[in-house]
């Protein structure tokens, strides 16, 4: 058998796609899955793989009436410039529970984050016309609503005064987002005033600790397939792992009888449905941890309700630094608010990458239940981004401690957070699965 030529493999896939004459939409690039797998195991460079994908994307575009019109919009994600990553700033995050009545509505102050170079205030804005109406989950961007959130002037206890700008999203019923001050307030301020209304910052900070773990060695092909399952793409749903598996088999990076092939297919099948849908028993039994634990609680809606303000910041691991500002648990899942040193270039709607620099968002509790997160909304620029990560299944009602584990290719950070609400809720009697 001759030496495997990854470029030829990809080009022959491109030829087959062209000959099938199933011309795709311009944002559908069928070679990306195979190419990403081959790049991950070192069978081809990312640059060469992108060149091949681009060749066949253009060939497809030339064969459709409108194809070239989208040529400028769809392409490889911009490459991140190589530079030294610095850890995010330490911050003081204080939980608040303060509502300020405005003529146009109410502004709920949820948290204040104070760092050397910035101050942000997490708020919820409810315009008057919508008071008492049921909350709607749908979102719209700022500027579309009838009464957009206010941007008050903020003062600290040392006399620092600053205007604010709102960023966030919502509907005509409710806006959620952050007020960012134009200049930072004192980190140790005992209170802030928003347009003259004082908000005490007296809440005790939540406990947390952080460490960095190296990931255990595993074959590159296995690592790629499991990460591919753990990091969903917002714009290109994973239709099948087969192109990646076929490419890895062809490259000799996987053996045909490797049990991982069936395992990843089973997990992929189980995850096709909504996280709230229960997976079948076969899936639960046949896959390794942490997936088994994840699937076993899929479909539950028994999560505790509560919120924690966090000041957790990780050191640099795998080229990332992460700050978690809050954890909010609901019956159907939980959410964390994250700042990180990774830009949004990997999250462009119609871009693609054969070597995405993204984190897998894992979490685990003290009962050995595992959770998987998905970035639901994000904003930011080239170097920093801010996002909400939604985890499923819901937190186990009796979990006392949670480890949030943003996971890179070689290492992960582990942010350990005690969960205060388990003391407040009667035990359900349910045992951990």
């Amino acid at each position: 058998m001759g030496r495997f030529d990854a470029e030829l493999y990809l080009r022959l896939q491109g030829e087959e796609a062209l000959l099938a004459r199933e011309h795709r939409s311009p944002w559908d690039t069928p070679l990306v899955e195979s190419a990403s797998a081959l790049v991950a195991v070192g069978a081809i460079s990312a640059t060469k793989a992108e060149e091949v994908i681009d060749d066949y994307a253009l060939a497809e575009a030339l064969r459709t009436e409108q194809g070239l019109e989208y040529r400028g919009s769809f392409g490889p994600a911009r490459r991140r410039r190589k530079r030294k990553i610095k850890p995010l700033e330490p911050r003081r995050v204080v939980a608040c529970d303060h509502v300020i009545e405005h003529a146009q509505g109410t502004l709920e102050i949820r948290r204040v984050a104070l760092a050397e170079h910035f101050t942000t205030i997490a708020v919820t804005w409810r315009p008057n016309a919508t008071q008492g109406r049921p909350r709607r989950r749908g979102r719209m961007t700022l500027g579309g609503g009838p009464v957009s959130p206010p941007h008050p002037t903020v003062v600290d206890d040392q006399g620092t005064r600053s205007g604010t700008a709102f960023s966030g999203g919502g509907s005509e019923l409710e806006w959620e987002g952050r007020l960012t001050t134009h200049r930072p307030l004192a980190r140790d301020t005992a209170w802030i005033e928003l347009d003259g209304t004082r908000v005490e910052l007296a809440a005790h900070p939540a406990e947390w600790s952080v460490s960095v773990d190296e990931l255990p060695e595993q074959p590159a092909a296995h690592a790629y397939l499991w990460r591919r399952l753990a990091i969903p793409n917002d714009f290109h749903e994973l239709e099948s792992l087969d192109p990646a598996i076929d490419a890895l088999l062809a490259a000799g990076a996987l053996e045909p009888n490797d049990p991982v092939i069936d395992e990843v297919r089973t997990v992929r099948e189980a995850m096709q449905g909504h996280p709230r849908m229960q997976s079948n028993g076969r899936a639960r039994r046949q896959v390794p941890q942490p997936w088994r634990s994840l699937l076993s609680r899929q479909g539950r809606e028994d999560g505790p309700e509560g919120a924690i303000a966090l000041s957790a910041v990780t050191p640099v691991f795998d080229g990332f630094s992460v700050a978690v500002g809050s954890l909010e648990s609901r019956p159907d899942g939980f959410q964390i608010e994250v700042d990180m040193t990774a830009g949004t270039e990997e999250r462009e709607p119609f871009g693609w990458s054969v070597r995405p620099r993204q984190l897998a968002w894992w979490a685990a509790d003290d009962r050995d239940n595992h959770y998987l997160g998905r970035i639901e909304s994000w904003s930011g620029g080239e170097d920093r981004s801010r996002c909400d990560v939604n985890f499923w299944p819901p937190l186990h009602p009796q979990a006392r401690k949670l480890r949030i584990m943003p996971t890179g290719e070689k290492s992960r950070a582990v942010i350990t957070v005690p969960l205060p609400w388990h003391k407040q809720q009667p035990a359900s009697g349910e045992t951990s699965t």
Partner: protein, 297 residues
């Protein structure tokens, strides 16, 4: 030079140039602008700041891409694989140079050929290369310019698309013959180009559901074959098949798949073709007669 073009009919298309319809003709491996007697002189004038000429720009672009292996990736694999028809002014997404920019004389540059910026309205598509405009504004990368130029070449009518593919294939055939391995860098591209065109031909030839087919690209000294083994079609063909057979439109002839075409003399070819039963190949002799004069009367 190997006269690879022998047997290929001339191809010709019309270009809107300097307010007139001009003819661009490919014949015997060469592209020429029939309405321009002194292309070199016109290039020199343009370099000195004179009006650029679409016909000459087209010749220059052809020259730049005559060994561009990407042509083989983008161009047609056969009659059933056609590029979508395009209106000439539908390329704004590629950074189309503004009309006033297009008509501005280019600055003198040391190297000849600056794209299609001088072409008239008919060449708006080609001017999407935006060479002149982008040189001034820096809006378009050289890679994007080259790509736009290539797209424009591939949309040429009158058979020039096919002649460009033949030209590029012939150039790479020669490089593959060199002992220094000049073709090694693009070998996967060349192999894929052969693969796609062989498979497309076999699909059309045999019809029905596409048979499982395996292709091995062999050297020109090896014997080309097409056999069935265990329900799989196994083809062994050299890259030269693209030049000698496919580009000449004789990939299938009289219901047979042509494995090779060898020139006996300037007008006679000996083909080796295999029938749909995939039995032993049989020779066919093709003779191109001298063209006759116009019909009497």
């Amino acid at each position: 030079m190997n006269p690879w073009w022998l047997g290929l009919a001339p191809a010709q298309t019309t270009v809107h140039c300097a307010g007139r319809h001009h003819q661009i003709r490919w014949d015997a491996g060469q592209l020429s602008a029939l309405d321009h007697e002194d292309p070199e002189g016109e290039r020199a004038l343009a370099a000195l700041g004179g009006q650029r000429c679409p016909c000459i720009d087209l010749l220059d672009a052809w020259e730049r891409h005559q060994d561009d292996a990407r042509v083989l990736v983008l161009a047609t694999r056969g009659p059933a694989d056609q590029l979508a028809a395009r209106d000439d002014d539908r390329y704004p997404h590629l950074g189309l140079a503004l009309p006033q920019v297009r008509q501005r004389p280019t600055r003198a540059r040391g190297r000849r050929g600056r794209g299609f910026a001088s072409m008239g309205p008919q060449w708006a598509a080609i001017s999407s290369a935006g060479w002149t405009g982008s040189a001034a504004t820096g809006r378009i990368s050289k890679a994007a310019q080259a790509e736009s130029e290539l797209i424009a070449l591939l949309t040429l009518g009158g058979g020039l698309h096919d002649r460009l593919v033949a030209t590029v294939a012939a150039a790479w055939r020669e490089r593959l013959r060199q002992p220094d391995g000049a073709g090694a860098r693009v070998r996967p591209q060349l192999q894929a180009a052969l693969h796609g065109r062989v498979f497309d031909t076999i699909q059309r030839w045999l019809g029905g559901p596409a048979p499982q087919t395996q292709l091995r690209m062999i050297g020109e000294a090896e014997e080309p074959t097409l056999v069935a083994e265990d329900g799989v079609l196994r083809a062994q063909l050299p890259f030269a098949w693209l030049v000698d057979v496919w580009a000449k439109g004789i990939a299938t002839i009289w219901g047979r798949f042509c494995l090779a075409a060898t020139r006996q003399d300037a007008q006679t070819w000996r083909l080796l073709a295999v029938g749909p039963d995939l039995g032993p190949p049989a020779p066919i002799t093709l003779q191109l007669a001298e063209p006759r004069g116009p019909p009497p009367g």
